[in-house]
Amino acid sequence: MSDMGMGGCPGSRMQDFREDTKGGKEEGGTRQSQLRQWPIQLHLVSPEAPYYQKADVLLAADCVAYSVGDFHKDYLKGKSIAIACPKLDEGQDIYVEKIASFIDDAKINTLTVMTMQVPCCAGLVSIAQQALQSAKRKIPVKSIVVNLQGGILSEEWVS
């Protein structure tokens, strides 16, 4: 990994991983997508959609799916999804209300929040926790933090 020495915010600092991805094993064949819904952006999804009812929901920061090589197989499979960017998206109050509606109205079973290691991404976990606090129901919430090259830094139940 090469840091291009730009300094500043770790979320937007330029880094070059090209050397690290060389020499990987070539994979043949195709892999089936595990996505089972559309839309997926948190502003666009509706908690009333049938695939959210009593589901295990994955709330992923936008960058996560590009970073984790086996995202579909290891994290998306069997779950309904919503994606958001806590740094760039507007209307995050609506995100809190919508996640609370997932919990109370769609009666989701669990919520897994998957974020990148950059500090601004922790905002998504905070949004989820605010939603949980404002919801009437309580559900288990898991946080998974991913490093910039797709490795899992931590995986823990946060409430």
Binding site: N109, P140, W157
Partner: protein, 271 residues
Amino acid sequence: MEKYLNAPIKDIITKFPEVGRILEDYNIGCVPCTLGSCLLKDIVAIHNLPADQEAQLMYRIEKAIYPDRDIKKPEGKAMARKAPVGKIQYSPPIKKLVDEHALIKRWLELIPEVLEKIDIESKACRQLILDGLDFIRSYADKFHHAKEEDILFGYTDKNLDIIKTILQDHETARSHVKAILEALKSKDRKSIIEHLGAYGDLLAEHIKKEDEILYPWIDRGLSTRQVGELFAKFNEAEESMDKGVVDRCEKFALEAGERVQKMERKKEEVK
């Protein structure tokens, strides 16, 4: 070695006491277990030791059983003895059970003091023990053990020896409670001391076994879906329980220490 991997641990420790000492080096507390029916292979699997420590453990056990056998010593440095157990991360439903244990332990920790100062003729002392029994029956058994027996163990194989051991502990605890109640009626001090003491020791060991071994093992096997289901089922069970009873039990556990102190002060005043 296959023969011993499939043998109950008590039989192995009885025949080769060194095996018990080796297990203790790895914080595996089979020696004081009342049943000892778990198979060696299950015990090793359930404790989820790091691969190098497990290899060292198995090497030492095999050497203890077959001292003359030429066994290849695992590579890597020998494990640090009595390695401290790190903070265990529980899933939310399992954490509920661990928190309930914390409340139960508040009463268990007071039992030796109560037994030491027991005055069977004192109404306050008899009432404290009666309230303690109410706490045990309503909270520890009806509220907590029922969640384990009716819900949690449904996510495991109930035929596993570790589950049978836990269920047997619950039954033994119930028989002690019955005996204490009878002893209270007949003011049989000796019997109260015997059964309440035995109950305290049994439950303290039982809780340690669950917090450190059983729960982490069950947690490792639960999918995200199952964690959510379990959490919802525990919530339902809690809601179906009379809130007044739970509040009464929690109040007892929080105030029992003060009641013991008060009893002692009164005794001193009389002297």
